[in-house]
């Protein structure tokens, strides 16, 4: 790989932008396709398919046999609620490779002592979330049970097209939440994107078990196609 390609690729990755390296198997010739260059590339269709799936692989194309190395940003997890579940969720998610951020304006909850080594922001979501650059490579989980904190954060997560959006609460709590969000103009299609009750149904009771159920569900959204999840 040419050093300039490698440098440009690392710049894209640092900025959390997707990119593909196209390598000709025979000659070893290479080019880097950044997100903004996909539409103008002769291999547009193939590139788009690979970016959607996030998978690298070999393709027979008009240019010959090429290998596509697909680079999509590492996933992030943003949580509202520096609660008991978050104390288990943050280390489990970190182990799975997620960059974790917790947002909770209640300073008694959002303390460094309760979350050693985790990025905790003691601010309201409307202030804390926009600078985070939440994107479709981010999972968002609302855990405070407080509509004043969770609702605006959920609206932001929907707007930013997070690949996973989950909210803690019983079916009843969630029904009330849906009504509130609907009255703020969110479509049914958008609302259906919120996973609630949160997590895979594994009979989780303790906070760490609930954390496992949540990360199981997040992983399935990340790794499985729509058919695979059925």
């Amino acid at each position: 790989m040419r050093l300039d390609i490698l440098k440009a690729l690392n710049t894209e990755r640092a900025a959390r932008r997707a990119a593909v390296v196209v390598t000709h198997q025979e000659s070893g010739a290479q080019r880097l396709i950044t997100q903004d260059k996909v539409a103008a590339d002769p291999l547009k269709e193939v590139l788009e398919a690979h970016l959607r799936s996030g998978k690298s692989g070999v393709e027979e194309t008009a240019e010959g046999r090429v290998f596509l190395t697909v680079h999509v940003p590492p996933p992030r997890l943003v949580i509202t609620g520096a609660v008991h579940i978050s104390q288990a969720l943050a280390p489990i998610a970190a182990l799975l490779g997620y960059d974790v951020t917790i947002v909770d304006p209640r300073t008694a909850f959002a303390s460094v002592e309760r979350f050693p080594g985790v990025k905790v922001i003691a601010e309201w979501p409307d202030k804390a979330l926009p600078p985070l650059g939440i994107d479709r490579y981010t999972a968002f989980v609302a855990l405070t049970h407080d509509p004043k904190i969770d609702d605006p954060a959920l609206l932001h997560a929907l707007e930013r097209d997070c690949f996973y959006i989950g909210a803690l609460g019983s079916k009843k709590t969630h029904a009330r939440r849906l009504e509130r969000l609907k009255s703020q103009g969110v479509s049914d299609e958008q609302l259906a994107r919120i996973h609630a009750p949160i997590g895979l149904p594994i009979g989780a009771i303790s906070p760490p078990e609930i954390a496992v159920a949540i990360m199981g569900e997040v992983t399935s959204r990340l790794r499985l196609t729509a058919e695979g999840r059925r």
């Binding site: 799936s53 996030g54 690298s56 680079h71």
Partner: protein, 109 residues
């Protein structure tokens, strides 16, 4: 979405090692058949002293890839390596999982 957080560090290491004046090769898993321990796109970075970071298998063939990478750093010519149960070299280096992988090794220059 296929994201492996650790791969970020590997490609950054490749850039940093090169900037530090070391000879560097990058190995990438380009194809797998059967049960392969690391997915397509996984990287291993190797320097001219045989230091390496990352993985292209569960540790079974890294030694062989490093040896070939030293060749690639010297010649500058990319190589495609194949490891699998049906392969002669596999008996030596062994993909214990029974899968087959193809690894592209190229010099960073």
């Amino acid at each position: 979405m296929d994201t492996l957080a650790t791969d970020t560090d590997i490609l950054k290491a490749a850039e940093d090692w090169k900037a530090a004046g070391r000879g560097v090769a990058l190995a990438t898993v380009v194809e797998t058949w059967g049960s392969a321990p690391r997915p397509v796109g996984s990287n291993l970075v190797i320097d001219d002293q045989g230091n390496f970071l990352g993985s292209v298998s569960g540790g079974c063939v890294e030694g062989a890839v490093v040896t070939e990478a030293l060749d690639v750093i010297e010649s500058g010519k990319p190589k495609t390596l194949e490891f699998g149960v049906a392969d002669e070299t596999a008996w030596k280096v062994g993909l214990s999982c029974g899968g087959t992988i193809r690894v592209f090794v190229e010099k960073v220059e």
